[in-house]
């Protein structure tokens, strides 16, 4: 009935004050700093010119007509459909009617797209530079220290996660190395930033990586040909089966009120 031997390592209490705490504080401060750096680096979104707004919103109007067509009476819907379909097919709302049918220019030569890429680069830089620096700093000064013990047992799979930089095979998983503590703070500080900076901060890298994917998925991304969008919307309108929500509404209302 022998108890498993509990590993005890006598740690210098100074390890807490001089390694654990500094790493944590530095990580939090970098996050805060990164947030403000990102705010400063952000370029104000460029203003759209009037024809582009018109193009975008006209398309939106077509989408609205398609989605909410059932509020219109049949005759009123047919009139609108005829107008919208012909206007869309003629390309009446295009911001650049001459550019119809031409292939899209290379995004590399488009200044607007370049700007977006620059923004992405800036974000990446603000993330990479401090990360590299801090990683180097920790590797140079604190590598190889075991700095704390988790108060709960863990399975051996966590060994690579919690003890990077400490090359001992038999060490209990509960011991955490300094480099691992750095990684834990790197990925786990989001709630802390939320608390300090508010919920839409730019401190966390995870959120940034998500943000970089998103804008390209926008409905009217620069790489999409607006004319194609209009054509497909016209087709959608053509095949739409129309019904009127007001048909029989009086009976529905009576039934509803009677119950």
């Amino acid at each position: 009935m022998a108890q498993p031997v509990v590993q005890t390592i006598h740690r210098d209490p100074a390890l807490f004050w001089w390694i654990l705490l500094p790493i944590t504080v530095v990580m939090i401060l970098t996050g805060v700093l990164r947030h403000y750096a990102m705010t400063l680096l952000q370029t104000t979104p460029k203003k759209q010119v009037l024809p582009q707004i018109r193009q975008h919103r006209s398309l939106l109007r077509g989408v609205n007509l398609r989605q909410n067509a059932n509020v219109l009476s049949p005759s009123s819907f047919q009139a609108r459909k005829a107008y919208m379909v012909s206007a869309f097919q003629e390309g009446k709302f295009l911001a650049d009617p001459e550019g119809r049918g031409k292939p899209r220019p290379n995004p590399m030569s488009d200044p607007a797209a370049m700007e977006g890429m620059m923004g992405m680069m800036k974000g990446n830089m603000a993330m990479m530079v401090p990360q590299t620096l801090i990683m180097g700093w920790i590797n140079a000064f604190f590598s190889g220290f075991v700095i704390m013990k988790l108060p709960f047992p863990l399975t051996p799979q966590f060994k690579s996660m919690l003890q990077s930089g400490v090359g001992t095979r038999d060490l209990d998983v509960r011991w955490v190395s300094s480099l691992s503590w750095y990684f834990l703070t790197l990925f786990g500080l989001q709630p802390v930033y939320n608390f300090i900076l508010g919920s839409n901060n730019a401190a966390s890298q995870v959120a940034q990586q998500m943000g970089q994917v998103n804008p390209a998925a926008g409905m009217m991304g620069p790489e999409q040909d607006p004319d194609k969008l209009f054509q497909s919307e016209a087709e959608n309108l053509e095949v739409l089966e129309h019904w009127w929500v007001l048909e029989g509404v009086e009976d529905r209302l009576l039934a509803k009120m009677a119950s």
Partner: protein, 332 residues
């Protein structure tokens, strides 16, 4: 009575509430929302929240509405120092302030020219475009206002507010067809807005009465839109009011069925009728009874001050009561 709250949009508050709101100006103005410390320290001690500026903006409108121009000026100055004089919204607010203070047509004319200048520099400033329409309206140049709105909507056809305004302008001119068209655009943007349905219904109802005898198809469309508004919101006073009016107008027309039947056939041959037949006489009668009953219920409960029934506007309840009294069927 809904609580006066500076975070609700100013358009939907009755005058009494607006007065209550503008009287909140002194305590808000006595506190500074931004910290007076130099830059890095001010970040730590600022009490500024996004709501702060919404409150300021709504306070500005409430103050102007109640004639408290001095407070409005202070709020405007504060907003200007925070966001800069070139901010689109600030430009608009300043315009509203100047419009409110303008004494005569010449001053309005000057403001109008300022707007023109701003728009020449930045044609995408839709808020200023709308202000420009408002000035044209107060100058009494309705036709110019309509033209300006058409241009605005040509460029931004998903703007429900502008469509509603244009519809209103057309309705004033008696151009019912156009007014209905514009209101239907609002419905396309907001398909479940019962107030928009009621407005469409009202326009149809008014247009029906321009020719005598009132056209059955317009009246039945009106009836249906009112019904839809009530389907979406079953305690909508205006909906019941309109439903009663529309059904009362429809009953005599549908009653002499043979004549209207032949008229309907003729209309169908001409192809100007909707392909949906008018509702049955029985249904319309029952709708009329329903509306009367509900209106009476609302009036009764409102006057008794019953909980949950006092949210109606007093004017509307009075109008409903009057309608019922005229009908001579008030159940007490």
């Amino acid at each position: 009575m809904p609580q006066p709250n500076l975070l609700t949009p100013p358009a939907s508050i009755p005058p009494a509430t607006a007065l209550a709101l503008s009287q909140k100006a002194p305590p808000i103005l006595s506190k500074s929302p931004t910290s007076s410390l130099p830059w890095p320290l001010s970040l730590l001690l600022s009490t500024e929240t996004p709501a702060t500026w919404t409150i300021h903006e709504n306070l500005f409108f409430a103050a102007l509405r109640t004639g408290d121009d001095a407070s409005a000026r202070k709020v405007l100055d504060r907003l200007t120092s925070r966001f800069g004089a070139d901010n689109e919204r600030i430009v608009t607010l300043r315009g509203v302030y100047e419009e409110a203070l303008a004494q005569n047509e010449a001053e309005l004319q000057k403001i109008f020219e300022d707007y023109e200048k701003i728009l020449r520099e930045d044609p995408t400033n839709f808020a200023v475009r709308k202000r420009r329409v408002a000035v044209l309206k107060s100058l009494g140049r309705t036709n110019d206002a309509i033209t300006a709105l058409t241009v605005l909507l040509e460029n931004s056809p998903t703007d429900a507010e502008a469509w509603a305004e244009l519809s209103d302008l057309y309705a004033r001119q008696g151009a019912w067809g156009q007014a209905v068209y514009c209101m239907e655009e609002v419905l396309l943007v907001m398909p479940n807005a019962w107030s928009a349905h009621a407005q469409v219904a009202t326009l149809h109802y008014q247009s029906a009465h321009t020719n005598s005898p009132p056209s059955v198809s317009a009246l039945s469309t009106s009836l249906r839109h009112f019904s839809r508004a009530l389907e979406l919101n079953s305690s909508y006073l205006r909906g019941f009011y309109g439903l009663k009016l529309a059904s009362k107008a429809l009953i005599p027309l549908l009653s002499d069925a043979p004549m209207s039947n032949s008229a309907k056939k003729r209309a169908a041959e001409n192809g100007d009728d909707d392909d949906v037949p008018p509702p049955k006489l029985q249904t319309v009668k029952r709708l009329e009874e329903l509306a009367t009953e509900k209106l009476a219920e609302i009036v009764r409960n409102y006057n008794a001050g019953k909980k949950g029934w006092t949210g109606y506007q007093e004017v509307e309840v009075l109008a409903a009561k009057e309608l019922l009294d005229k009908d001579g069927k008030v159940e007490r």
